[in-house]
Symmetry: C2
């Protein structure tokens, strides 16, 4: 029985896709920042979007990332259901830390709780991918999946969808968001469609090493495996200061890291919070030297994913 | 103190390299077949090879795979040491299950025991790779490493050498060796040097899935991840009956499998011995229908690697 007076609230976290060597297959969720969302039933059928932030995102659900995801979900429900979705985005769109995924995944997870958990996680990823399609033209799951599952997720296959949750050891994350725009479409078009087999083999070794390091909780192996010989050398030219930010972060003790999603944010993983804070300091120094406006976050990998909460800060 | 009267004997197992999606990076050791080797000190400095089989392999150590490996090891020892190495090969050269690796790895492991374990496993792999270089012209470690470490090994990087031992769940192995010759050099030259990024991404997902499946002991995931979109489609044309052997093995219940090394042997993994035996039956039937001479083995993944034993069957 659906409780028509129920109100459900969630936090939908930022995520890092394209985890260095795990291009298109590995991503992870962080503890902060997160979007806040609330869902309740209303008598108007379909999806009604209420914005509780200042981004002025479209309220027409078919043009809104969260709305598109939720519409895909309602298509597989009995007709007549009306859901009002209130969204307060704290993850800046275009920063490269899964802002659109948080909207899309948050929407379907909060609505699924309202609908008594009738869909499983794979269904929710499938619905949420419609939001990613609206945002970037491509159905991809490497932000959606960690947002919903938490931890590090492997998208072994996208068609058919095969998601494997990997529980990592404690890892602290430092993210710097240089205030520049990198369009996902530019980041995609710059990639070479053909690559050398010998480079792919290096990447196989690193992908395998990263998964083994995460599951065997071997920090040194994680660090050695955080190497990308295929995508980073091409895409990093779109991000001013990338090389200096990376080398100074490593010098400050980071295990490794790279471009978050398609950028412009850069993330670094560390074994301790104190190292993650030292990495933040190093990143800020590089940005200041380059007169590059930026935001930084120090957080950790979040093994829960989207989380139901009692109250929001609307 | 070295005991000059000591005699050391080992079994050096067959290995499967190029574990489907783990081309050039993942390999594993099997329980059988294995080569038998004995080492003892003699007064003649250098390496003296004694063949205890009927393969008539060269006894000049510089031209013998085991000898070349052992010579590389003795170069890092005090001068004057003389070792007699007696070799009984049970792994047929050219079968694609690491015959040369068993010779090279067995030689350095048995001698290292004689020399009071003065070298570590990474050193031993490094020495043994000289045997592979003599055998195939290329220093590769994807048979050597599992032979020495046991289980499944990841060669994350070859220069510098970075080997990670992965302990798999119980897995049974069926191998069919069609009595045809596939030259490693042909198998190498047939590969495309350039590949599509989209195919590499599929392989990233499968490599990551295979490692996760092995470490999380998830047989279904292992099975789904045993897919190779890059190398198998090209190399399998060198092996008559490959497609039928694979499809009938899967129909008989195998989790998956592919070309062992560069062939011509084909291996399949199964969750139980009874399935591995059913797979053997299916493989034999295909070979008989094609009038293809063949040998089969049913064994299991060997987590020990090269093992010291009390006596040999010389």
């Amino acid at each position: 029985m659906m409780d028509l007076n129920k109100i459900v609230r969630v936090h939908a976290p930022a995520t890092v896709a394209n985890m260095v060597c795990g291009f298109d297959v590995l991503g992870f969720a962080v503890a902060a920042p997160y979007d806040e969302m609330q869902a309740r039933f209303i008598s108007t059928p379909g999806v009604t979007i209420v914005n509780a932030d200042h981004y002025n995102l479209p309220t027409n659900p078919a043009q809104n990332v969260a709305g598109a995801a939720l519409l895909a979900m309602l298509e597989e429900c009995e007709p007549g259901i009306g859901i009002e979705l209130t969204i307060k985005k704290n993850i800046k769109p275009g920063s490269g830390v899964g802002s659109s995924a948080a909207s899309a995944a948050g929407a379907v997870v909060v609505a699924n709780i309202l609908l008594d958990h009738r869909f499983d996680k794979v269904d929710l990823v499938r619905f949420a991918m419609n939001g990613e399609k609206l945002a970037s033209g491509v159905k991809h799951a490497d932000n959606i999946a960690p947002c919903i599952y938490g931890g590090v997720t492997l998208i072994r296959s996208i068609f058919p969808l095969d998601i494997i949750a990997l529980t990592p050891p404690d890892l602290y994350v430092t993210i710097v968001h240089p205030q520049i725009e990198v369009r996902t479409s530019d980041a995609r078009s710059i990639l070479k469609q053909q690559i050398y087999l010998k480079d792919a083999i290096k990447q196989f070794g690193n992908v395998a090493g990263l998964v083994a390091g995460l599951l065997q909780k071997d920090y040194a192996l994680i660090g050695r495996s955080l190497e990308d010989v295929l995508v980073e050398p091409v895409r990093s030219i779109l991000i001013p200061g990338f090389d200096a930010i990376k080398s100074e972060s490593l010098a400050a003790g980071a295990l490794g890291g790279g471009i978050s999603g398609s950028g412009p944010s850069i993330f670094m993983l560390s074994e301790s919070e104190s190292t993650a804070l030292a990495v933040e300091k190093a990143m800020k120094k590089v940005c200041e030297n380059l007169a590059l406006s930026h935001h930084t976050y120090v957080t950790n990998i979040n093994n829960t994913g989207i989380k139901e909460v009692d109250s929001l800060s609307f």
